[in-house]
């Protein structure tokens, strides 16, 4: 690069060289400085240039007793340099992998489903795609009941028209609300409700299998004595369909449910009360004592609602998932969450706060679905593979988040919020 005198003086002033004592320059003098110079280099160049200058000046007859230019060691007005760093992400790899479990079976597999779901298969924490790819994203099943049930208003209004017809109800959740699966709860079998005999109750299961083409999950009434009998019958009539029997627990005849699943090719939901050790115990019983195939087990470690023990549920599931990934074979199974439990929280359904001093809670029709969404999304980060939910808006929002974090969405151009009026 060539410098004219004028540029040279600019350069000097840039580096705060304010005065060169006794120096006056006139006429065109060119100084050569190399390109690509850093600061230190430039200082060198200036010193060199000064030599050139002095030589030139002496030739021009100017006084040659010039003092050397005092280039400051650090510039007077401090110019900070950016400390250039490279970010090296810490790598994490787990030895274990979560068992893959299929719900539903197609015609060629001995069932009649047009769609099946695969759960599990993870080698990393949920949505940590930078650690390992996640072959199966979490699925969402919507709850259907075999008789009308009391539901919060915000939920009820979406199902009022189909509540007396489980098959229509099932169709609606699949066709209108995008459920990946249907959970049909046979609550009428409860001895304290209608005490429907198993043979009659399973007709509803057949109807639902007819009505929809997605996999189904069948729940009992929660009665410890009756459920094994009911679910055994379900297993028989749904032979080959690979339904999930919900649920086997430690304090009931889990053996009967497990054996039925084995015999007719279904999946067992192993349900424990928020305790990792009981979960391990029940899983071992089903796998080791009964010989249930590993691809036929899903766990429900219990879902507590946001504000009502969600912290326990989150941490319990997260620990179970981490154990599975670290190689505990008894816990390396897909996780199911009864996210509908969120509606048990009074914040989800009550008209307003019963507590004096609370800021008003806002419209419950907007509050309720969010309660279900936040409960579900929190547990999705702990490792849930299948959600059982109820409000269509909650299902839609959680699906959107799952496909976003699962890397199924493209780039979206969005402006910056910093200086914008909202």
């Amino acid at each position: 690069m060539k410098l004219t005198l004028e540029e040279f003086f600019k350069l000097l002033s840039k580096y705060e060289v304010e005065e060169i004592e006794g120096l006056r320059l006139e006429g065109d003098i060119e100084i050569e400085i190399e390109e690509g110079a850093g600061f230190a280099h430039v200082v060198n160049e200036i010193n060199l240039a000064m030599q050139h200058l002095m030589n030139a000046l002496s030739m021009l007859g100017a006084p040659v007793s010039l003092p050397g230019v005092e280039v400051p060691a650090a510039p007077a007005k401090e110019h900070k340099m950016l400390l250039e760093r490279r970010f090296e992400p810490f790598r994490v790899e787990y030895p274990g992998q979560i068992q893959e479990v299929q719900l539903g079976a197609t015609r060629s597999e001995g069932g009649s489903r047009e769609r099946v779901i695969k759960l599990g298969g993870e080698k990393s924490l949920p949505f940590y795609l930078f650690d390992a790819s996640q072959p199966n994203l979490p699925a969402i099943s919507i709850d259907v009941f075999d008789k009308p049930v009391p539901l919060p208003k915000a939920v009820r209004e979406h199902y009022e028209d189909v509540m007396s017809d489980p098959a229509e109800w099932a169709k609606k959740v699949v066709n209108k609300f995008g459920a990946d699966a249907v959970t049909i709860h046979l609550i009428s079998t409860d001895p304290l409700l209608d005490d429907t005999p198993p043979g009659e109750a399973v007709k509803v299961v057949e109807d639902v299998l007819q009505a929809v083409k997605v996999p189904i999950i069948v729940g009992g009434s929660g009665n410890k004595e009756k459920d094994p009998i009911v679910l055994e019958k379900v297993a028989e009539v749904a032979e080959g369909e690979r339904v999930m029997l919900a649920s086997a627990t430690l304090d009931m005849d889990w053996e009967r449910i497990g054996n039925a699943a084995k015999e007719y090719g279904h999946v067992v939901l192993s349900w424990t009360q928020m305790d990792m050790n009981s979960q391990k115990t029940l899983n071992r019983y089903l796998l080791k004592r009964l010989g249930l195939p590993r691809d036929s087990l899903v766990m429900d470690p219990t879902t507590a609602a946001l504000g009502y023990g969600l912290d326990y549920a989150y941490t319990n599931m997260e620990r179970i998932r981490l154990s599975g990934l670290k190689g505990d074979e008894d816990l390396a199974f897909p996780i199911s969450s009864g996210t509908t439990n969120a509606w048990g929280a009074r914040e989800a359904w009550m008209k307003d706060s019963p507590i004096e001093g609370d800021t008003p809670w806002g419209p419950r029709e907007l509050r309720g679905p969010l309660w279900e969404i936040v409960t579900g999304l929190t547990l999705s980060l702990a490792g849930v593979d299948i959600f059982m939910m109820m409000h269509p808006a909650s299902v839609a929002v959680l699906k959107e988040l799952i496909s976003t974090l699962g890397g199924r969405k493209g780039e979206t151009k969005v402006g910056d919020w910093v200086g914008v009026e909202l």
């Binding site: 110019h79 900070k80 400390l83 250039e84 760093r85 970010f87 090296e88 992400p89 810490f90 994490v92 949505f127 795609l129 930078f130 009360q273 928020m274 946001l306 504000g307 009502y308 023990g309 969600l310 912290d311 989150y314 941490t315 997260e318 620990r319 981490l322 914040e347 009550m350 706060s353 019963p354 507590i355 004096e356 001093g357 609370d358 800021t359 809670w361 806002g362 509050r367 969010l370 969404i373 936040v374 999304l377 929190t378 980060l381 929002v397 976003t404 974090l405 699962g406 890397g407 969405k409 493209g410 780039e411 979206t412 969005v414 402006g415 919020w417 910093v418 200086g419 914008v420 909202l422």
Partner: protein, 466 residues
């Protein structure tokens, strides 16, 4: 914290068991430092000795270094702490310093609107497990590009007494606002690859914490390192992109930063993380959709590593789930959430007042207690030791039994306090009705399943019909 054993700390303490720290022995003090319920600086003799003695000074410094949190702890305003985390998963210890939630105002709003929003932030309250949850602070955004106006609004907002975040990329505007409110110790948002030199100067001149912002993690780390080297307190913003692949990448950046700081021991990125769910308001959609999506983003990062947030929606239907989630995730898993069992008097009960029973799970207990208080009900409340389990679970699990109810009634002498023999049990414990009657000889009334409905229930059932 680098040390895992109290012994390593004990070695450097005076070992005099002087009790000045409030613990009986230096060893016990060391154990409390490990679980972060005590600080090294609480050892007054050591702090005093360090002022004169070189060896003591070195010990103190070493102790502070050994016990400092994995992630920097930074104060905004007077005493709002963010960061200070130790672990990636809450069961490994606990998460310290709940995500600080800041709600925005901007300086081209008219003053009335600004006051209205600030008041809502200051006044917001939600009762939860024995106390009221509240919001943390206000983010003032510069949309005017006018330094005087920004400074004026900053001053007005700071007047509300809550911690403040100043939001502008313009150094002149930021300088004006800092001149007005630097003594309130606001958080400066944000230094970027473009403006960092000026912002570094401001941070040093006014001695305030600064957010550095870049979605390029090499650049973000460079900025953090540069600011830290000058002694500035740094918060990192890896840029919250609100939708699609951008949001997924945001999640990746946040997890990578925190994991690398804690597992990879990279001190230069061991800073609190800023998340800006407010970005959701730039996505197309109606107001409710935007508010929902903002809540989704905020929830995601309350669970995963967000230390501070800037939000827009102040609607109670979005605020309530967020602060409840924050309370849940930041509950210390080491301490059971239980209250003392026994008999409580609510609103000066008399001999004619009803007797209720509930469990000692803190959430259940405080909900029932505050419902009775709020509804102005006078009564006796028996609190059963269920080991900190709620009604439904303890009835199913055998911690809530007729035998234990009888025991509690005898122990508290409730029979002498009232002139009737009626016990109201929770609706969720209905199946114990017969057993409790057999065991205690009292008549058992099954109350509602939610204590918020006790008032209406009492109107129909109390005093009991003979």
């Amino acid at each position: 914290m680098k040390v895992k054993s109290p012994l390593e700390i004990y070695k450097l303490l005076p070992k005099t068991n002087c009790k000045e720290c409030g613990y009986d022995t230096c060893m016990s003090f060391a154990a409390h430092i490990i679980d972060r319920s005590a600080k090294v600086e609480d050892c007054k003799p050591l702090v005093e000795a360090a002022k004169q003695d070189e060896k003591a000074r070195q010990d103190l410094e070493k102790l502070i270094e050994l016990t400092s949190p994995e992630i920097d702890e930074i104060v905004i305003g007077k005493d709002l702490k963010i960061g200070g985390k130790e672990v990636l998963h809450r069961h490994e210890l606990t998460f310290f310093n709940p995500t600080a939630l800041f709600f925005d105002v901007w300086d081209t709003m008219d003053d009335k609107e600004i006051d209205e929003r600030c008041s809502r932030v200051v006044e917001y309250r939600k009762f939860y497990v024995g106390k009221f949850l509240t919001l943390d602070g206000i983010a003032v955004r510069c949309t005017s590009n006018n330094p005087e106006r920004f400074a004026e609004v900053a001053k007005k907002v700071a007047g509300y007494g809550k911690p403040v975040v100043l939001v502008s990329f313009d150094a002149n505007c930021m300088r004006a606002a800092l001149e007005a409110i630097a003594e309130h110790n606001p958080l400066v948002y944000a230094a970027t690859p473009e403006n960092w030199e000026d912002f570094l100067e401001l941070a040093m001149e006014f001695n305030v914490p600064v957010v550095v912002r870049s979605s390029d993690l090499d650049m973000l780390k460079s900025l953090a390192a540069t600011f830290k080297a000058e002694g500035v307190k740094v918060v990192m913003d890896p840029v919250t992109e609100p939708a699609g692949e951008g949001l997924r990448k945001t999640f990746e950046r946040v997890v990578q930063l925190r994991r690398t700081a804690i597992l990879g021991d990279d001190k230069e990125v061991a800073c609190p993380i800023m998340i800006t769910p407010i970005a959701a308001w730039m996505v197309e959609g109606d107001a409710v959709s935007k508010a929902y999506w903002e809540t989704v983003i905020a929830s995601l990062f309350i669970v995963k590593y967000g230390d501070a947030m800037i939000l827009h929606s102040l609607e109670p239907y979005t605020v309530m789930p967020l602060i409840t989630l924050r309370a849940n995730i930041y509950t210390d898993p080491r301490t059971p959430v239980q209250v003392e069992p026994g008999l409580r008097e609510i609103n000066n009960p008399t001999q004619d007042s009803p007797v209720f029973i509930t469990t000692n799970f803190a959430l259940t207990y405080y909900t029932v207690e505050s419902d009775l208080q709020s509804a102005g009900i006078s009564g006796w409340l028996l609190v059963l030791d269920t080991g900190g389990l709620g009604v439904e679970v303890s009835v199913a699990g055998g911690q809530f039994t007729a035998g234990k109810v009888k025991e509690l009634m005898e122990k508290t002498g409730v029979a002498e306090k009232v002139n009737h023999r009626y016990l109201v049990i929770p609706g969720l414990a209905a199946r114990l009705q017969g057993a409790i009657e057999d065991e205690t000889g009292w008549k058992v009334l099954v109350g509602p399943t939610d204590s918020g409905r006790i008032k209406g229930w009492l109107e129909q059932h109390w005093p009991p019909k003979k």
